[in-house]
Symmetry: C2
Subunit: 224 residues, 2 copies
């Protein structure tokens, strides 16, 4: 699904020393899915995995997977498959984003706690560095290893911690005011897990999805 113009077409002239070309959106999306499956396969003790198995788990065609990977090098062994460990390393290198970005989470309710307690960010090297909630009864309590902070701290935390992404796991009515505060504080990427239709300036990117909305999309696929 398109998410707007982020990565342009490969515009790098052919070049022996080949500085990395910008990944196309589709490729980046798929690589991150492969990475997620590989990370889990590694936890389960798997040493190798075939493009067909990756296809079964990601629902991406196996030829497409081999083509995505072979664009960056010959990572597989014919007749065997791909080494899980080394493919994880290669894809991380291609995506080049691990561990460099700090995230702030808003909302210490059910969804906020579910996100904060996931180990997936640590697995992939992203840092959730702060959790906010508007409810004074929640501030000060600990969620996912972080003290819940009052929303008044927003500006200071964004500045001190270099927050580049704000995640809104708040009730629909609370989302728009928070989005505005995030924009004022200089945050340019907002993940909206509420159902609100956020109004933001054009330079700000909003990504809206939620567990329930995702489920709904998929239901329209699978039911007939």
């Amino acid at each position: 699904m398109s998410v707007g113009e982020i990565a342009g077409p490969a515009s790098q002239p052919a070049n022996g020393d080949a500085p990395a070309e910008r990944l196309s959106l589709g490729v980046a999306a798929r690589l991150s899915r492969y990475l997620q499956v590989l990370t889990q396969a590694k936890k389960m003790g798997r040493e190798t995995i075939s493009s067909q198995e990756l296809s079964d788990y990601t629902h991406v065609n196996s030829t497409q997977i081999r083509r995505d990977l072979s664009g960056f090098g010959k990572f597989g062994k014919r007749g065997v498959g791909y080494n899980v460990d080394s493919l994880v390393t290669q894809i991380r290198r291609i995506l080049q984003t691990g561990g460099q970005h700090n995230i702030a989470l808003f909302g210490a309710g059910h969804l906020g706690k579910a996100i904060a307690s996931s180990d997936i960010f640590a697995d992939h090297g992203f840092n959730v560095v702060a959790i906010f909630d508007a409810d004074p009864r929640k501030t000060g309590s600990s969620v996912g290893g972080h003290q819940v902070r009052p929303v008044e701290d927003l500006g200071q935390v964004v500045e001190d911690e270099g927050i580049v992404v704000g995640v809104l796991a708040v009730p629909t009515a609370a989302a728009q005011p928070l989005a505005e505060q995030l924009v004022d504080a200089g945050v340019r990427i907002i993940f909206n897990y509420s159902e609100a239709l956020l109004q933001v300036p054009p330079e700000v990117t909003v990504h809206t999805s939620s567990p329930a909305v995702d489920l709904l999309h998929a239901l329209y696929f699978y039911l007939s």
Copy 2:
């Protein structure tokens, strides 16, 4: 992103009375996104919406939106846009799935509660008819208007309520055994919000995603 072979290419012979052709996967996915935005726009009291506004909210190109819709009829008014109410009705009619399917939710933890308390299913006519949890301290308590049931009831509930979709919002280690019980009970569609890589027979469809995994995918898009 491909999710396997579900909707084939249009294979209906041309026919005056035109029985509905099977929707392509991409079209169904996009229509459900439009529907989600329209539903929210309606709640906000909007009467009309343009393809450009729908594009801003869904990140789908506005020409693509007009083309998707015009394939089913002339729903818009030139110079004005689309009537929100009537477009909701039309898309629901095209998708033809509202309110016909019962869903069972597993896991009354943070994520389960977040999903159960969403009003999006009611908005779109799907029914979450049962919530299960393995923890005896949780069974009997009420979540989202449902009494939490013990997992032993699974087979009986699937049969009595005609459950066609099982949603796993449980810890990773608990997902595989539950998936097997669902398969044994005859459920053929499983939504997996855990990080487990589920092993199921080929006739069963697994859709894996979670709020944290979705956020991760999107991070790889937006950060560079």
